[in-house]
């Protein structure tokens, strides 16, 4: 394996760990995860484009009170690897779809991790409730270890998938462009609906509309 893939695996592990466990500085956001992955692959522009599209998808998430949500960090890393070196928007659609798949797998891996942590807590419930600081530290740190392993495995899965996709031309140029176009459409709609969902009442909708208006004016003026 070349050093670039090792670096991507490491970066994917870090952003996957960042989402829930440590340190939650939101390098897990696709905008950051994808752009940095693009720097690693030597194609930061493409990495940023897939990062932006997946960031729009991620604006759908409101991680309140331990609900389930997809894991977009390793997804953005795998998508950035898929798209690296491809001309124009040709591979963007395929890369985003692959990203969504990895993000969805990530959601399931998070559920499995939480179950595993539950099992560990149950097994040591007596010592924990007796206030045993050593057991508490160990159970807690094992949880972090598991999440790190989960993040690396998920990234590895994504990169392996991306490697296959990169070698296999299964889609026509027309199809690839169409795929990119519809993914951009779904991403923008997802971000819109997600933002409306967390916007408060009439006042929030007003501010959202003002923002939309300003954005449109900016686009037209350019």
């Amino acid at each position: 394996m070349n050093p670039e893939l090792w670096l991507l695996l490491l970066w994917g592990g870090l952003v996957g760990l960042d989402l829930v466990s440590v340190p939650q500085m939101m390098i897990a956001r696709p905008l950051v995860a994808g752009t940095v992955a693009g720097v690693i692959t030597g194609d930061p522009g493409s990495g940023m484009v897939v990062g932006v599209i997946l960031e729009l998808f991620a604006l759908d998430i409101l991680p309140v009170g331990g609900v389930r949500y997809p894991d977009y960090g390793p997804a953005a890393v795998a998508a950035a690897y898929t798209v690296a070196g491809a001309p124009g928007l040709l591979a963007v659609g395929v890369a985003v779809v692959l990203g969504l798949l990895v993000a969805y797998a990530g959601e399931w891996s998070l559920l499995a991790l939480r179950r595993w942590n539950s099992w560990d807590v149950h097994r040591h419930a007596a010592q924990l409730d007796a206030g045993d600081a050593t057991v508490m530290r160990r159970v807690h740190i094992r949880g972090i270890g598991r999440d790190a392993a989960r993040a690396v495995l998920l990234t590895g899965f994504g990169l392996a998938l991306a490697d296959v996709v990169r070698r296999w031309s299964f889609i026509s140029v027309r199809g690839a462009v169409l795929l990119a176009a519809v993914m951009i459409g779904v991403a923008l709609a997802t971000a819109t609906v997600g933002t409306l969902r967390l916007t408060e009442g009439r006042r929030g909708i007003t501010w959202f509309s003002v923002g939309l208006g300003l954005g449109v004016v900016w686009v037209v003026a350019r």
Binding site: L62, V64, G66, V67, R68, R197, L198, G201
Partner: protein, 157 residues
């Protein structure tokens, strides 16, 4: 009908309620039914801090809730009713004509087992809920509005 949601959630006022449900049902008022909190100013002060400025909050005991319930359903304020546990729910349902109940979060306890990732119930609590259901109250589990609602029968495997 202005009581939009009757929810059992041991966290009472938190993000899923004020952001998730509050914005989905456009809630104007939270009624928190709990005998302990209704008589404790210090606890009320803390819970009040969790309420956004566009909502009001009332703290009532189960018996106060019984007499106030008819007024809540007619005076038009869009209301979410919160209770911390199944026992309080049973008492509330026996004094107020509740038709639908949302299980939003009941967590670890010694004799509770996991029915859903956010619903842990003891055998006794399950029986209590089944009794309510048999009386015609629709009981579903759903943590946030964007999740699927899961019927009580599907919780008890």
């Amino acid at each position: 009908m202005s009581v939009l949601l009757v929810r059992v959630d041991d966290r009472l006022i938190h993000g899923q309620v004020v952001i998730g449900w509050g914005r989905a049902v456009n809630c104007e008022r939270i009624v928190l039914i709990d005998d302990g909190i209704a008589h404790n100013d210090w606890e009320q002060e803390l819970y009040r801090m969790g309420v956004p400025e566009n909502m009001t909050v009332e703290f009532v005991s189960v018996s106060e809730a019984a007499s106030a319930y008819p007024a809540w359903t007619v005076n038009g304020q869009r209301t979410i009713v919160l209770l911390a546990d199944v026992d309080t729910l049973v008492r509330f349902c026996s004094v107020a004509p509740v038709t639908k109940v949302n299980l939003g979060g009941i967590h670890g306890g010694e004799d509770r087992t996991e029915r859903l990732s956010y619903v842990f119930l003891s055998q006794r609590e399950l029986e209590q809920l089944r009794d309510l259901s048999a009386r015609g109250i629709e009981i579903t589990a759903q943590d946030v509005p964007t999740a699927r609602a899961i019927a009580l029968e599907d919780l008890a495997r």
